[in-house]
Subunit: 337 residues, 2 copies
């Protein structure tokens, strides 16, 4: 099957009339090669279609240039947006992204991390789930860096990037009160991740401080369908809420669609809604959703920067954790105060 193999540095060396090390050095930034040999090597390489074998290089340098992205639900707007930003910035930093899909099953993330280890990835970025402690230990012992995004794990070593979910919950509660809402509600999924729960707790805390109670309902995933179901449940209550904070934009979209088309409610006149993530659909005029923007770019920048600098072990403990601010994007789903 492998009829013609790839061309090796040896062949380039022969064609250029130099030694193999000269070829190697030509493609190693900072190595000592005269301008003349470099030119001859490059010509030969071009003619033969030579490309450095990064598998072999990774073997020698003990640094593969691979960064493993571990994600579930890639097809989701927020996830794919973050993925996009991460891969672009990784590419700019000279790394290449390896992509591993996870599902909800036990050990799924662990298997993904093992894949990363097998390919000697320089680092892994985890966007979903949480790996077993023994695996992360293995990664760190092996010299592999780890980044946890919105995962809120407490073990030392990995870089942890989180948002101010709790504070955001508070800010939006205030906005609802200003808009004159009397009955608040929080629509959450059953996933129970720290970010979702943070938003919930912050929202409830601020609302009670402002003298209002919050009805909380949790159901299903963080997707559109779950939002519809939550609307079903909440809008048939005796005391119908008139200000609903949905834990994600997708939930909010489902919620709004059900509220309008099934319950005939007008937004924001009869019902105020807010979401979280600022996915593209939130800006569509069918939704025009007031929401918090995930600082996707900043998240990616932080992650890549930490990887590029090698993530020094000796830096203060606090530096392993970053908290970013989610910006409130005002649109039309909440009445003006």
């Amino acid at each position: 099957m492998p009829s013609k193999l790839f061309v090796s540095a040896q062949e380039v060396a022969e064609r250029a009339g130099v030694s193999r090390s000269a070829v190697s050095r030509t493609f190693t930034p900072g190595a000592s090669v005269s301008a003349d040999t470099r030119r001859r090597v490059l010509e030969a390489a071009e003619a033969l279609g030579y490309h450095v074998n990064h598998l072999a290089r990774g073997l020698m340098r003990n640094e593969s240039g691979i960064v493993c992205l571990i994600v579930s639900d890639v097809a989701t707007p927020y996830r794919s947006a973050l993925l996009r930003e991460l891969t672009i910035q990784l590419q700019n930093a000279g790394k290449v992204a390896m992509f591993v899909n996870t599902d909800r099953s036990d050990g799924s993330v662990d298997r993904a991390l093992q894949q990363a280890i097998r390919y000697r990835a320089d680092a892994s970025i985890i966007l979903s789930g949480l790996p077993d402690k023994s695996i992360t230990q293995l990664c760190l012992r092996s010299g592999q860096r780890l980044v946890l995004i919105n995962r809120d794990d407490d073990q030392p070593g990995p870089l942890k990037i989180n948002l101010d979910d709790y504070e955001s919950g508070g800010r939006i509660a205030t906005a609802f009160v200003r808009a004159g809402c009397k009955t608040l509600a929080f629509a959450n999924s059953e996933a129970g991740t720290p970010s979702l729960m943070g938003r919930e707790r912050g929202f409830i805390a601020a609302a009670t401080k402002l003298g209002l109670e919050v009805v909380v309902e949790r159901y299903g995933s963080t997707g559109y369908e779950a939002g519809r179901v939550l609307a079903q449940r909440m809008l048939t209550r005796a005391e119908r809420p008139d200000g609903v904070f949905c834990a994600t934009d997708l939930l909010a979209c489902g919620f709004m669609d059900a509220a309008r088309h099934q319950f005939g409610l007008s937004i924001p006149d009869q019902l105020c809604v807010a979401g979280f993530d600022d996915i593209e659909q939130a800006s569509w005029s069918s939704f025009n959703l007031t929401t918090f923007a995930q600082p996707v770019m900043a998240i990616a920048t932080q992650a890549v920067k930490w990887l590029a600098t090698g993530g020094h072990e000796d830096e203060p403990e606090g530096a392993h954790s970053v908290r970013l601010k989610a910006e409130l994007i005002w649109r039309g789903s909440i009445r003006k105060g």
Copy 2:
């Protein structure tokens, strides 16, 4: 920095009291190892946290297990759905996905393919753009398989997966006529890819055959905003179209939103709309869009199957090209005939 390295087969061999080859064979399916040594090796490996180095294995076997996915606009619903399916199926086939983002710039795809070559990927799957002929030649010469999805290139060698775009255009034209539409229109982007143009040509051909003219307007990308602009242009015409086929669902979403919220039109009573892709949003009740479903699963299956079988060179030429059918999903954006 690399304080503790990864554990190697040598160390496992020493701990298990066997030779290094025995370790290697234990992790090579089909190799000859006695049950006893296998057990001892596995125990030692477990204790030490050993994982086969796939860089080194790839070097020997001349088969890295890496498949490179080359995509632009990952954050788009259709693209991310396809990406998801591909990665899942690749994982199930024992491969791992390497992800390279491209942009609109010249040579972007070529650079991506070079990355694939550097990592000695077993194959590359191209979802966006079209590489230079010289690069694809290099890939094929190097023994790297190539899959082009919806790209419609004519050079031999790569597997080409396409849809029946032309026929789909025809089918939807008939549907519009049955719904009693009098003035048809096609809303396209300026991208001009073969798939988009195929839909356009098929739609026009069928419509003229049915005795109707088609207004064609092209603008911008294939996204939501372009759809709004297209609506702006088309719905202000003297002869306003009452049946519009949008080249993609995102265009359709933008078009519908503008038609409703800006022009106060009711869909499907005053205006029938159809799209293409069947992204998740098409099923949302705000849109309830009649559209063609990309056979995402079938596309991925075909691609992975071809890679798994090694894509024999000696098979008949026709086998290098696959045409799949886009299923028409009936929803509520076209009146019943």
